[in-house]
């Protein structure tokens, strides 16, 4: 047995050594990783002095400049691309899979992977300067289906957010459970741009999804939540071409925004629109009354719902079919071939590819097919 005083002395010694080592590590880190102030040149027009040592994505965010990012800066989405004009070293293995050969040649980088160590010049699209981080308040949450929620957020006073129907926002949720840092994901607006003080999103619960799990299980009315917006270039093109729109599940969100915007501007009845919306079973469908009302109100608006496998006991008047099969069928039977058409798609890569194949087979060209890919 050791006397208590000896054990206490040993514990004190170990504790002291630990503290000393922690201080030494901190001092060494501050010396080795102290890059001091560096100059950040943006588009050759804006120069700011920033503290070196952080990732470019975060450094820009600190300056109020938000690049698109769907993974919260972990190098797993490839969205935060920007052209770097100065030498920041070779591309990292984490960047290469997301970049084309041309982007590699032009030194396009993922901002979340580039560390700002010295003066740096970058080129970014001018419209990114309009993106803001907004501290919103959850106004309402409505279950549209068993796995899709409508989340309505109140914008902060005086935020003056201007966006185009079809764009999206990045919702940031705080650390929770085993997740130690805030996480952000991109979701299309479902609200109309004319609603100046609110934003709406349709969020589907993804099993194992970090942000969707938080939204569905923990987020509640009255909570504060950050949204980085507006982002994206999906929008309706100002032509008279017929719009062939496809968006099932939560892929309805941009179309809800687009149709509400067109109605508010009094142009919804001015061009032919086919909207294809579907789900696995009847319980996956929502906003059906609203869409049927639009169809009844506007002669040129055609709403085509689809259900692939009605559940036991469910009543579905039409023939069960996948959304893309219904799309192919309507091209044969209902959509006039001679019409000039534009495609508008929102959904998973597989769904979009399948829709594009059908559209090509029916005389549409890729340059007239616009999409908002989930992935």
């Amino acid at each position: 047995m050791f006397p208590l005083s000896t054990l206490a002395a040993q514990a004190l010694l170990i504790g002291g050594v630990s503290v000393l080592m922690a201080v030494m590590i901190s001092v060494i880190d501050s010396i080795v990783n102290n890059y001091g102030d560096v100059q950040l040149d943006i588009n050759g027009k804006k120069q700011v002095t920033v503290k070196g040592g952080s990732k470019l994505l975060g450094t820009l965010a600190d300056q109020g400049i938000f690049l698109p990012s769907a993974c919260g800066g972990r190098g797993s989405c490839g969205a935060c691309k920007c052209q770097v004009k100065s030498d920041v070293g070779p591309h990292l293995p984490t960047e290469v899979p997301y970049l084309t050969q041309q982007e590699l040649r032009e030194n396009v980088r993922l901002a979340c992977q580039v560390k700002v160590k010295a003066d740096i010049g970058i080129e970014i699209p001018e419209d990114l300067f309009n993106i803001k981080k907004l501290s919103c308040t959850v106004e309402s949450m409505t279950n549209l289906t068993y796995d899709i929620k409508e989340v309505r957020l109140k914008l902060p006073e005086g935020s003056d957010l201007t966006y185009t129907a079809g764009q999206y926002g990045q919702i940031e949720v705080p650390a929770y459970g085993g997740i130690r840092e805030p996480s952000a994901r991109a979701y299309s607006f479902a609200s109309a741009p004319q609603e100046k003080d609110t934003l709406e999103f349709l969020i589907r619960l993804v099993p194992g999804g970090t942000v969707t799990t938080y939204v569905h299980k923990f987020l509640k009315v009255g909570d504060k939540i950050n949204v980085v917006a507006p982002v994206g270039d999906f929008r309706v093109h100002d032509t008279q071409a017929a719009m062939i729109c496809v968006g099932g599940g939560s892929g309805m969100a941009p179309f809800r925004s687009i149709f509400r915007d067109m109605e508010a501007r009094g142009v919804l009845g001015e061009r032919d629109i086919w909207y294809f919306f579907g789900g696995h079973s009847v319980k996956d469908l929502y906003f059906m009354d609203w869409l049927k009302e639009l169809e009844a109100k506007y002669e040129r608006f055609h709403f085509i719902p689809a259900v692939s496998e009605p559940g036991p006991g469910e009543v579905w008047e039409g023939k069960p079919a996948r959304l893309i099969d219904v799309l192919a069928e309507k091209f044969k039977t209902e959509i006039p071939r001679e019409l000039i058409k534009e495609g508008y798609l929102c959904g998973s890569p597989g769904m979009l590819d399948a829709c594009m194949d059908i559209m090509r087979k029916n005389g549409m060209t890729d340059d007239k097919i616009y999409f908002d890919k989930f992935a």
Partner: protein
Amino acid sequence: MKMTEELKKAQANLVPGAIVEEGFLGHDRRPLADIIQHDEEAFAEHGLSWDAVAERLKYLLAEGEKGLGEPVTVEGKWRVFVYEARGQFACPWEDGLFHKDSVTVQRLENGHPVGDRLVFNQLCIHMLEKHHFLEGLGSSFRLHPAALRNVLNL
């Protein structure tokens, strides 16, 4: 089982924030070597083959992808839902990149989903097949050996 340098490197990549926000270990505090060894024993107890499980998961993933973002019924036995998300994950063993997706599989009885639910992605299949790693206890994407046996009919 010994923690090799390879396993030590992988374990560093399994913590929250290294590759994915949640990490791969859940609330499991055991060394990676112990987690793998325990699951290898459990696989043997349940009479499961790593290759057969991986092949069945790949098959269900491929069938589920045909749903194009909506659930599908496979062979009248399983309800499979594949959600594709943007981007890719690196394997913690640093031997590949895998598309981010979320696959949910449940067994059907009289058209209704019943029993255990498997949630996995392409990286899970790779880690199961190549590294015998099913993720730690409490991880959202952990594949419990008993649940694999029950759901996959193996």
